[in-house]
C-alpha cells in the first residue's frame, strides 16, 4: 500500500488523512530529514525545501486514574515512545491541550519531564483541564506559554508554513461552547494580514473549531469569525483535541481533524448519556488511544495526517 502511495505522492497527499489505520508508514521515500527547529526558524523558507513532519499529541490528562485508565502517565509514556520510534523524527511536537487532569504542579511536572525525552521543541495550547489553578491558567502559562499573548495564543513560521495556536477554553460563557473572544480574533486578523494567500496555514486549538456536537459543547461559539479570516488562504489545516476520538471534515480549502487522547476515549457524539470517559475493557484501551503524525511536502496542497494507536 505504501509503495503505491510513494509512487504517487500527490495522490497520497490528496488523501490527506487515514483514520485509525494503526499504521506507522515508513517515510523513506524522500520525505526529508529533520533539522533543529532553531535552525529551521532562522532559515528563510525556500521553494523546494525538504519536506518535514511534526507530531500532534493531545489530551494526556496526566493525573487521570479512573476507569478505563488507572494510569494516564503510563499511556502518555507509551505515546512518547511511539513518537521516538517513528522512522522519520518530527521537527517538533504540538500538544493540543488537557496536558493535565487538574492543573496540579506535579501533573505539569511529569508531563514536561516525559516530553523532554523527545528532544524536540513542544508547542502547547491549554485545554479546560489546564485552567484549574486558582489563577485560572497562570500555572500552565508560566510553564508552557512563555512568549504567548492573552490566554496563551501565538503564531510561528516553520519552513514556509504559518502555524497559529489559538485558545478557546478561557472565559467560557454560561450555556455556550468553546470561545475565542474579540481580543484574540483581533490579534488573529492582525497576525494573518499581509501574509500571502499561498502560505499554508496550520491552526491548532483544544476544542474543535467547528461544531461536532452542540449538545455536548463540542464546538466553538465564535469559530466562524476565525474561519472567515482564514478563508482567503489556499491551504488551511485545523488540528484539535478535546473529544478524544478522530473526526474529520473538509470544507472548501479547510481540513478539520481531531486527534485521539493518550489517556481515555470518549463516546461518539450522542451515543451515550454524557461525554464522560468511555469505559472500555482493558484489552481495548490501547486501540482507542493514539498520536497523529503530520507530514508536509512542499509543492503539495495538503498536510498528510496519519493517526496511529498505542496498540503494539
Amino acid at each position: 500500500m505504501f509503495d503505491d502511495l510513494d509512487d504517487d505522492r500527490r495522490g497520497f497527499l490528496k488523501c490527506m488523512a487515514w483514520a485509525g489505520t494503526g499504521a506507522l508508514f515508513a517515510f523513506d521515500g524522500g520525505i526529508g530529514s529533520s533539522i533543529g527547529l532553531d535552525a529551521a526558524l532562522a532559515a528563510a523558507p525556500k521553494q523546494g525545501a525538504a519536506p518535514f513532519s511534526f507530531v500532534q499529541l493531545s489530551d494526556s490528562h496526566i493525573g487521570f486514574n479512573k476507569p478505563p485508565n488507572a494510569d494516564a502517565r503510563a499511556t502518555f509514556r507509551e505515546a512518547i515512545a511511539k513518537v521516538k520510534a517513528l522512522p522519520v523524527q518530527p521537527d517538533f511536537v504540538i500538544h493540543t491541550g488537557d496536558v493535565s487532569q487538574l492543573s496540579k504542579d506535579d501533573e505539569f511536572d511529569d508531563a514536561e519531564q516525559m516530553l523532554t525525552e523527545l528532544g524536540r521543541q513542544v508547542f502547547f495550547v491549554p485545554g479546560e483541564h489546564d485552567m484549574l489553578d486558582p489563577d485560572g491558567g497562570k500555572a500552565f502559562l508560566n510553564r508552557f506559554g512563555k512568549g504567548s499573548q492573552g490566554a496563551g495564543w501565538y503564531s510561528f513560521d516553520h519552513r514556509g508554513v504559518h502555524f497559529v495556536a489559538l485558545v478557546n477554553v478561557a472565559d467560557l460563557k454560561p450555556g455556550g461552547m468553546g470561545n475565542l473572544g474579540a481580543k484574540q480574533l483581533a490579534w488573529l486578523a492582525a497576525d494573518l494580514a499581509g501574509r500571502s494567500s499561498s502560505t499554508p496555514i496550520v491552526v491548532f486549538a483544544h476544542i474543535p473549531l467547528w461544531t461536532v456536537y452542540a449538545d455536548w459543547g463540542w464546538g466553538t461559539d465564535d469559530s466562524a469569525e476565525a474561519l472567515k479570516l482564514l478563508g482567503r488562504f489556499g491551504s488551511v489545516t485545523v488540528l484539535n483535541g478535546h473529544i478524544h476520538q478522530i473526526t474529520q471534515k473538509i470544507e472548501g480549502r479547510v481540513a478539520f481533524h481531531t486527534a485521539r487522547s493518550t489517556a481515555f476515549p470518549q463516546p461518539v457524539a450522542g451515543t451515550a448519556p454524557s461525554p464522560g470517559p468511555l469505559k472500555v475493557p482493558a484489552e481495548q484501551l490501547h486501540s482507542m488511544l493514539g498520536i497523529t503524525d503530520a507530514v508536509f511536502v512542499r509543492g503539495h496542497d495538503r498536510i498528510a495526517l496519519i493517526d496511529s494507536t498505542l496498540t503494539t
Partner: protein, 117 residues
C-alpha cells in the same frame, strides 16, 4: 434549634477539612433555620436544573461524575474550586433572588437557584 446549628457547624468543618470553599460563619448561622438542599452533578448535568429554596438555605453540590466540574455563578455571586469526583461545594443563599450558575469547564451545563420566602 441548637442541635440543627451544631449539625451544620459540623458539616462546615468537614467541608473545610476537605479543602472545599465554605460559606462565611455568619451565613452558616443564618442557614440554621432552613433545611439544606442538595444538587448532584452527574452525566455532565446538574440533576436538579432548578432548585427553589427559602432565604438562608445552604445548597450543596456534589460531583458524582468521573470528570471534574465547577459550580460558578453567572453573576460572580459564588464560585467553587474545581470539584473532582466526590468533592462538594456549599453556598448559603441569604437573600431572595434568582441565581443562575454553570460549570466553567463545560459551560453547556447550567442550573438556577431560586430563593424566595
Amino acid at each position: 434549634m441548637t442541635r440543627a446549628f451544631k449539625m451544620l457547624t459540623f458539616q462546615a468543618s468537614a467541608l473545610a477539612a476537605g479543602g472545599i470553599m465554605m460559606p462565611a460563619a455568619a451565613d452558616i448561622a443564618r442557614a440554621a433555620p432552613t433545611p439544606p438542599a442538595a444538587v448532584a452533578i452527574g452525566n455532565f448535568t446538574f440533576n436538579k436544573p432548578v432548585v427553589t429554596v427559602k432565604p438562608g438555605t445552604m445548597v450543596t453540590w456534589t460531583n458524582a461524575d468521573d470528570i471534574p466540574h465547577t459550580v460558578t455563578s453567572k453573576d460572580g455571586v459564588f464560585k467553587s474550586k474545581v470539584l473532582d469526583t466526590g468533592d462538594h461545594f456549599s453556598f448559603t443563599f441569604a437573600r431572595a433572588g434568582q441565581f443562575g450558575y454553570f460549570c466553567s469547564l463545560h459551560p453547556h451545563m447550567t442550573g438556577t437557584v431560586i430563593v424566595k420566602a
